[in-house]
């Protein structure tokens, strides 16, 4: 698009509603969070002390915070990886079957609609160590499942619950991506003597890389910021801190623990991270990965 309307005032009017809402419900609270980060305050807001950077130094010297950073990374990348891998696998299969691709799409698409909190509940009871069918299944093959004790298992549980919802979304994009790969390329590779598996790794997978990269970013953002409901409904951050992600921690420290100063400082850190991710995502979307 390099064609514009010449009007000068109109664009501001058009932007106004969005900006007003953003300013009131996002920027203002965000500003308050920034301010709060420099204060120590009791829960009821009856007294407050300016503490400078104390909240930040406390945060950045606390091993728990870095543990949650690590947890966030492990969690996010696991969700992204698992979600992409499963969805790609299914999409490749759906792309192969000429008949029924739409039917499969319908059957796979709906978890997208399920509330994260509800998804969490469903997986939680599936894996409940004493009554969940999955836990019993695992037990019957010799795996002692108890995510209340075992941090890795808890992580697996939240990863599965968070991934589940995301598979449909990824699947849609991968299927579209696959269908957009020119048939002739696949045919050329077949003539060049590559079998189905080789064709996938040599041709299809590299050609999907823009889609994959896009989905990677989307999934990371999702895992980073939007899985609060899943974690809250399943493990609530435990056992230990093994599933306490940064977003969960902000919420927990602030809303549950009522440590508003620290929580605000964490919000500020997150905002910085969001800012960075915004830049990265924006750059990517502006000039897509080229192969």
């Amino acid at each position: 698009m390099s064609v514009y309307f010449p009007q000068k005032l109109l664009p501001y009017l058009l932007l106004m509603p969005q900006l007003v809402v953003t300013a009131i419900f996002f920027l203002w609270p965000a500003g308050q969070a920034v301010e709060q980060a420099f204060y120590q305050e009791d829960a009821f807001g009856l007294s407050r002390d300016f503490v400078g950077l104390d909240n930040f130094t406390e945060l950045l010297t606390s091993s728990e915070y870095f543990a949650s950073l690590k947890t966030t990374m492990v969690f996010s990348f696991s969700v992204a990886f698992l979600g992409l891998a499963v969805a790609l696998w299914l999409a490749v299969m759906a792309d192969r079957v000429i008949r029924g691709a739409m039917v499969y799409q319908t059957l796979l698409i709906w978890p997208y609609a399920v509330a994260p909190a509800l998804a969490g509940v469903l997986w939680w009871i599936l894996f409940d160590p004493s009554m969940g069918p999955m836990a019993l299944l695992l037990e019957s093959i010799g795996i002692d499942w108890n995510h209340f004790v075992n941090g890795d298992q808890a992580m697996i549980l939240v990863v599965i619950s968070a991934t589940w919802k995301q598979i449909s979304y990824n699947f849609l994009f991968f299927l579209a991506g696959l269908q957009a790969i020119p048939r002739s390329l696949i045919e050329a590779a077949a003539i060049d003597g590559a079998g189905p598996t080789k064709r996938f790794w040599d041709i299809v997978f590299p050609l999907l890389s823009p889609t994959t990269f896009f989905l990677l970013v989307v999934n990371l953002v999702y895992a980073f910021f939007e899985t609060f409901g899943v974690i809250d409904a399943t493990t609530q951050g435990g056992p230990g801190q093994s599933t306490t992600t940064m977003v969960y921690k902000v919420f927990n420290d602030g809303f549950v623990g009522l440590d508003l100063g620290s929580s605000a400082a964490q919000s500020v850190v997150l905002m910085v991270i969001v800012g960075l991710m915004t830049v990265v995502q924006f750059r990517y979307i502006e000039r897509k990965v080229q192969y």
Binding site: L14, Q32, L108, L172
Partner: protein, 280 residues
Amino acid sequence: MIENRPWLTGFSHLVLILGVLVVALPVWVAIVASTHPANAFGVGHIPLWFGDQAFANWHQVLIGKEGQASQVLRMTLNSLIMALGITFGKIAISLLSAYAIVFFRFPFRGLAFWVIFFTLMLPVEVRIVPTYEVVANLNLLNSYTGLTLPLIASATATFLFRQCFMSIPGELVEAARIDGAGPIRFFFDILLPMSRTNIAALFVILFIYGWNQYLWPLIVTTDDAYYTLVMSVKRMLSVPDGDIEWNKVMVSTLLAMIPPVLVVIGMQKLFVKGLVDAEK
């Protein structure tokens, strides 16, 4: 066809069916669980096959007590109002702002875009206390406005519309200008109708986003006239030391799940098309 290997096709179907089954498992369990008596869960295992209490459970949740039916109806209505309010609000303001950003050049355009884009990612949970205070100060607690308006301040929709608008050929704008259409006419006569599928896709995404909110409504409402379905599930779950009535929880879960699932499946074609086209 490229190669003649029927077993490969068979294998593909097998994998897909397996995938569908795994994906459906949790909901299967929910459906099955909603047909058992409450104590079927405690005694050991979650049943994997239907019980005989389906009617009783659903009846109990839907119209168990006097006035309950109207409460369920009310919650459904609230969920719907909230979901649609958020959906239409977002779509409306996003259409306008994306239009401004894509089709006009003006000072601070970049800044405006970044400000909007920045809100894309930070979820309400992270800034819930100050946001609550703002809403309270504006006297919006216990109102549909309070339920919806603050959640409208996110940029997914703006961003998607921007992507979609950028793919509209510039020549169309020029043709419209030559045909004597100014920006407003262009917006209504050309742009809106052309963005149908994207609007539809966003409708689905945002409807689901809105419908699935639970923390926010929990916090800004104190009047049960404003309770939503998803909230009701959450409410049945937080029973300190009491026993969770899983059968009813599952009924409510299904109840809260059905409308958005119907929306997704019903609008599948438009949804997929609008979503995928705008992103790429």
